[in-house]
């Protein structure tokens, strides 16, 4: 390929377009993630408040029930049935407490994704900046050197981004986690 045939202007336009379109989509991804974070935060606040209120009401109800049943001549079967219901409530309360921890896990995952999106935006910005250095007047070898430099820079930035995004949440369900005493 001769020097005059190098489509540097078109290459620069392509790199700028990739950067601009990519950034625009990533801005939308970030906005959706922020909105999801906000909705999850509000949901857990409401769920937590309702859970506490329901639990308080159930406790009050159990106290009243206990006072009433103490005045009655209940059969052994009746007492066992009431105890069974009480145990069932206790189990469900425990299950709810475990489930209500979802936001702590999901918010960490979302924050990690937002950091990755921002890192990717910086990568795309670097892509456009590197492209702008190229000039139609450059020699073939100079263009090749700039492209290689661009490639190395992107690779370095990508690795740096990955290195700063350690995975802290590996849970795939809401089963309670392991316990280890040292």
């Amino acid at each position: 390929m001769g020097i005059k045939n190098l489509p540097v202007t078109e290459l620069r336009s392509l790199l700028t377009a990739v950067s601009e379109h990519g950034t625009q989509h990533l801005i939308e991804v970030e906005a959706d993630l922020m909105q999801t974070t906000f909705l999850l935060s509000e949901a857990i606040e409401k769920l937590g408040a309702s859970f506490m209120a329901i639990h308080g009401a159930v406790m009050d109800q159990q106290k009243e029930l206990s006072l009433i049943t103490n005045q009655l001549n209940l059969t052994k079967d009746d007492i066992e049935k009431l105890d069974g219901i009480k145990q069932k409530i206790g189990q469900e309360v425990n299950a709810a407490v475990t489930g209500l921890q979802f936001q702590d896990l999901t918010s960490q995952l979302i924050n990690r994704t937002i950091k990755r999106v921002n890192g990717l935006k910086e990568l795309l910005d670097a892509l456009a900046s590197h492209g702008n250095v190229m000039d139609p007047g450059h020699e073939h070898e100079e263009i090749a050197r700039l492209l290689e430099e661009m490639n190395k820079n992107l690779s370095m930035r990508s690795h740096a981004l990955e290195g700063g995004l350690r995975r802290a949440v590996s849970q795939h369900d809401m089963d309670s986690g392991d316990i280890e005493l040292f």
């Binding site: 606040e45 506490m52 590996s170 986690g177 316990i179």
Partner: protein, 122 residues
């Protein structure tokens, strides 16, 4: 007199569930929003057990443990990590920093209370 547990976590919902579970079991719970807040609250009162998250802004759990172990009054106070982290590498770091145990989130209230009772009693 109820034993006091310092619960350190940047997640409000998690702190709420920890406090709910431990208070129901008869413990007094002091809450802190990160390692710095946890350290300040630990210095300001007597605590029987520290339950801390790892990944928090301002100061993480491992740094909090190292700071607490540097204080004379907290050299023997049990410290448990309650975190999403579950790798052996992180557990080893926790043990080296001075943690007495590692609990992976999400926690089950009954199992949490069992461990706390085992470590500091009723």
């Amino acid at each position: 007199m109820a034993k006091t547990i310092l619960a350190v976590d940047d997640s409000g919902s998690l702190r709420q569930m920890v406090a709910f579970s431990l208070t129901a079991a008869g413990y007094q719970v002091v809450q802190a929003v990160d390692g710095v807040d946890g350290l300040n609250k630990a210095k300001g009162q007597t605590v029987d057990l520290v339950l801390t998250d790892q990944n928090m802004p301002n100061m993480d759990g491992l740094t909090l443990i190292k700071n607490l172990r540097g204080l004379g009054t907290y050299q023997k106070v049990p410290i448990l990590m309650l975190t999403t982290e579950s790798s052996d590498e992180m557990k080893a770091k926790g043990k080296a920093a001075g943690a007495n145990g590692w609990l992976v989130k999400p926690f089950d209230p009954k199992r949490l209370i069992d461990v706390v009772q085992k470590v500091i009693g009723q």
